[in-house]
């Protein structure tokens, strides 16, 4: 799933799209997704998809590395399309283009925006408990990811992981996961202590200056305008 790689990209990149605020990029993603859900016109959809791919390229998102994130939605889209529509190619293509467009919009969002900034914006619509949980899940994910990586290294050096031997893998992975689970629950207990000690109140006000508009916000907003324009006109 490459959560860690994407996270890295979001924090290390500094394209014009990275510099725009999370809110403006979220609005753009929302506009594209609404278009995908609502419209059935092929031309604007193809145009939007090409536009997104261009934006991804300009934002420095390596499409070769993250291409699978677009490939899977397309694949699943086609499974659904084929199983229900059958052989006629236009609707099938349309479904695939739709899935690709939506996936590209999301990839553009998360590969250029730190997850915490997105979570901070979500505070506008979600209850505080959910947003707090998103923040702590995010942090826990990286703590546990380190541990999982270490566990896998340990397995590898003891000859416990090979691409070919499924049974061996499963047995060893289950062991590693068991350990990771115990460690996760203990991490949770320790985090609980830390939260208590630091006076946790529901609604962690994390997220720094996510709402501060920058001049780079013009980018996403202009993009919204463009997409809406050709959907309406074409």
């Amino acid at each position: 799933m490459h959560l860690a790689d994407i996270d890295y990209l979001a924090f290390r990149g500094d394209s014009f799209w990275h510099k725009a605020s999370a809110l403006s990029k979220l609005i753009f993603a929302a506009v594209v997704i609404s278009v995908v859900v609502v419209t059935r016109k092929p031309l604007p959809l193809v145009l939007t998809l090409s536009f997104l791919l261009a934006l991804l390229f300009m934002a420095g998102v390596p499409l070769i590395k993250f291409g699978h994130l677009l490939f899977f939605p397309a694949l699943f889209g086609s499974v659904f399309a084929f199983s229900r529509i059958g052989g006629s190619w236009l609707p099938v293509t349309l479904v695939i283009v739709k899935s690709l467009t939506a996936a590209s919009a999301l990839l553009l969002l998360i590969a250029t925006t730190g997850a915490p900034a997105i979570f901070a914006c979500l505070r506008l619509i979600f209850p505080p408990l959910i947003v707090d949980a998103l923040f702590i899940t995010y942090r826990s994910f990286f703590i546990l990811l380190d541990e999982l990586t270490n566990l896998f290294t340990a397995l590898k050096v003891k000859g416990g992981y090979s691409a070919a031997n499924l049974v061996l893998n499963l047995r060893n992975i289950a062991g590693a996961l068991g350990l990771l689970l115990v460690r996760s629950l203990e991490t949770g207990e320790r985090m609980y202590k830390v939260l208590v000690l630091r006076g946790y109140q529901e609604g962690l006000r994390f997220g720094g200056r996510w709402y501060q508009p920058t001049r780079y916000d013009l980018g996403p907003l202009l993009a919204c305008f463009l997409v809406l324009a050709w959907v309406v006109i074409l």
Partner: protein, 279 residues
């Protein structure tokens, strides 16, 4: 001086029925002291600290922190006691350094301007202002320790408690953290309690030392007093510093030397004995 912490013959039973007892000497910390709790792993150091913090409730015995019972007055103490736990990774919860350090003041309901000011001050004091927008999982071990320290110091606590603060740090980071602790103690009069198993730290930071082993407080004193009781240290499974040991042996052979705490002290004593000609 006022007693900041007082612990008297503690007994604790964990849910899994393990019993930890800490009797022997009373554990007393006075204002503005830097106190080191020395003991091997598993001797009960963390249990003692958890009682002082108020995370554990003793089955028997008395714990007083800043004059109150830390379990009952937990909320009162939270603003006055800063804590750096052993596993620093799991106490950095915020998505960025700035957010994490701001956690406590925000939770205690301070207004954004105050929060901004407090965080800025503490980050600059600890020299990690440049890290303020960094993501915790891209920091080095030493940097994480400093962030955790900033999170503990941001409320300007009267008492700072650290569990194994130097574990896994290389000499340079260790030195930096030591320097910061000394600075807080000197400039703000912060009382400091540290748990550790490295005897070499004693001369570098401690005003007073408690030696704990097997659930008993065995020894209490200044570093010099502690180092004159090598037998107790060894019994507790702690290795005295080589310099101390060398001078201890010299003294036993009849050479007129005191136990030195620093290299400087050692040299000052030895040089005149060796070459009377030099200054």
């Amino acid at each position: 001086m006022t007693k900041v912490v007082k612990v008297k013959c503690l007994r604790h039973v964990y849910p899994d029925k393990t019993e930890v007892k800490l009797c022997g000497l009373d554990f007393v910390v006075r204002a503005k002291e830097k106190v080191l709790i020395l003991g091997p792993n598993g001797s009960g150091k963390t249990t003692l600290l958890n009682h002082i913090i108020g995370l554990l409730k003793p089955v028997e015995g008395e714990v007083r922190v800043l004059g109150v019972d830390p379990v009952k007055e937990f909320n009162f103490l939270r603003r006055r006691v800063g804590i750096v736990l052993q596993n620093v990774e799991e106490q950095i919860i915020g998505p960025t350094v700035w957010d994490d350090v701001a956690l406590a003041p925000r939770n205690f309901g301070l207004n954004p301007r105050e929060v901004q000011e407090m965080v800025e001050t503490v980050l600059k004091e600890i020299n990690i202002w440049h890290l303020k927008d960094k993501i915790p999982h891209y920091l080095s071990g030493g940097e994480k320790k400093k962030v955790a320290l900033a999170g503990a110091m941001v409320m300007r606590p009267e008492l700072l408690i650290l569990d194994e603060p130097f574990d896994g740090l290389d000499p340079r980071s260790k030195k930096e953290i030591l320097e910061l602790l000394r600075k807080f103690n000197r400039e703000f009069g912060t009382t400091i309690i540290m748990a550790n198993h490295d005897v070499n730290l004693v001369p570098l930071i401690a005003d007073k030392v408690y030696v704990i082993s097997e659930g008993s407080i065995r020894l209490y004193g200044t570093p010099r007093e502690i180092f004159s009781r090598l037998d107790v240290l060894r019994q507790a499974g702690l290795e005295p510093p080589l310099l101390v040991e060398l001078f201890y042996e010299l003294a036993q052979k009849g050479v007129a030397v005191d136990i030195p705490l620093t290299l400087e002290e050692a040299r000052r004593q030895l040089l005149p004995l060796l070459c009377p000609g030099s200054p």
